[in-house]
């Protein structure tokens, strides 16, 4: 249970580069009224970024055009379930249960 000085400095540097992008917009926008066009652009960010994150989980790690078929197979019922229940908690639970079941039966 020890931390070397070089590792501590490395972790601190990584903390700094993650904190800046998180905090900077809060400090800039606080002192600046954004134009309407910028606000409209920002209103698209949640749907765009969530879609991109879902797709990045579907794309496999073996180069371009590789897909994680396990994820795609479970994703479809999970999307339908989310549309039906509109519940974050139930969707997470059903997704995990379905994935566990798939892996149990396929091995």
């Amino acid at each position: 249970m020890n931390v070397s000085l070089s590792m501590l400095l490395l972790i601190a540097a990584c903390a700094a580069v993650t904190i800046v992008p998180r905090v900077l917009p809060f400090l800039i926008i606080r002192n600046l009224k954004l134009p309407v066009l910028a606000m409209r652009w920002l209103s698209y960010i949640p749907i765009c970024i969530l879609t991109a994150l879902v797709v990045s989980n579907v794309l496999g790690e073996n180069g371009p055009l590789s897909f994680d078929w396990e994820v795609i197979a479970i994703m479809i019922p999970t999307i339908l379930f989310a549309l039906w229940t509109k519940s974050l908690l139930l969707t997470v639970v059903i997704g995990v249960v379905l994935m566990a079941a798939l892996r149990f039966f396929i091995g």
């Binding site: 809060f26 970024i49 999970t78 997704g95």
Partner: protein, 242 residues
């Protein structure tokens, strides 16, 4: 916290208080717990000490960045390469912070720093659904959401680091899919709050992003692809809206 807000004259929405923030965080906790334990296990496997794993969770507080940190340390990558990679991986938070920041302009600088510093994919997702549903955003709600997630993450990473060798394969339990299904549910909740006249526009935009992501995957890492597809996608969204 409520006193501080009252003193600066901010309007406190009764239903959007600290406790409600904690409650709204609960559906995401399974994701934090499973990924946090995995991050702890992988950190130890890469040769980090348990204390270093916990320090990463406390100071860097980002799942994907912590995984990559462990992988790069294991490879013996130079410090500069590690720092640059972590920066790129987390650059998407800039867009998330910029999206939420306009809702916090009435609060103090320190509150804004606090809301930003603890922002994650998950807390952003939950908060942006709230703003999309036109529910008033309050700082104490955001604190409840953020602090719950932060504490849960640190504990999960610590558990992974300390007990990692005894925890059976988390993938067999489907726990890695918690993150994907959470993003799916947040996306569906976002769409549900969109006005019905605009829904076709948003569906087309989602198809655009899927194509962009597949296209970018030929040229850049998945983290860069997320960043570029989001920036380009939001621009397409503005340009093509009627």
């Amino acid at each position: 916290m409520a006193d501080v807000h009252a003193s600066i004259g901010a309007e406190e929405n009764n239903e959007m208080n600290f406790r409600q923030g904690v409650r709204d965080c609960i559906p995401t906790l399974l994701g934090y717990i499973s990924i946090g334990i995995a991050a702890g296990v992988i950190g130890i496997a890469a040769g980090l000490s348990a204390l270093e794993v916990v320090l990463l969770a406390v100071l860097v507080y980002a799942g994907s960045a912590q995984f990559i940190f462990a992988a790069l340390v294991l490879e013996g990558s130079p410090a500069a390469a590690i720092i640059l990679t972590i920066f790129i991986v987390n650059l998407r938070h800039f867009l998330m912070s910029a999206t939420l920041a306009p809702h916090f302009t009435q609060y103090s600088v320190w509150q804004n720093i606090g809301s930003g510093i603890l922002l994650t994919d998950e807390t952003f997702g939950v908060a942006s659904v709230k703003t999309q549903q036109k529910q008033g955003m309050t700082a104490s709600w955001m604190n409840g959401l953020n602090v719950t997630a932060y504490i849960c993450w640190i504990i999960s990473c610590a558990v992974g680091a300390i007990f990692g060798n005894w925890i059976a394969d988390p993938e067999a339990l489907g726990l890695d899919f918690a993150l994907t299904s959470m993003f799916i549910a947040l996306l569906v909740l976002q769409l549900d709050a969109v006005e019905s006249t605009k829904i076709k526009h948003y569906i087309r935009l989602i198809l655009c992003i899927v194509i962009l992501m597949i296209g970018f995957s030929f040229f850049v890492s998945s983290h860069m692809a997320v960043l570029l597809a989001t920036i380009l996608g939001a621009t397409i969204g503005v340009v093509t809206e009627k």
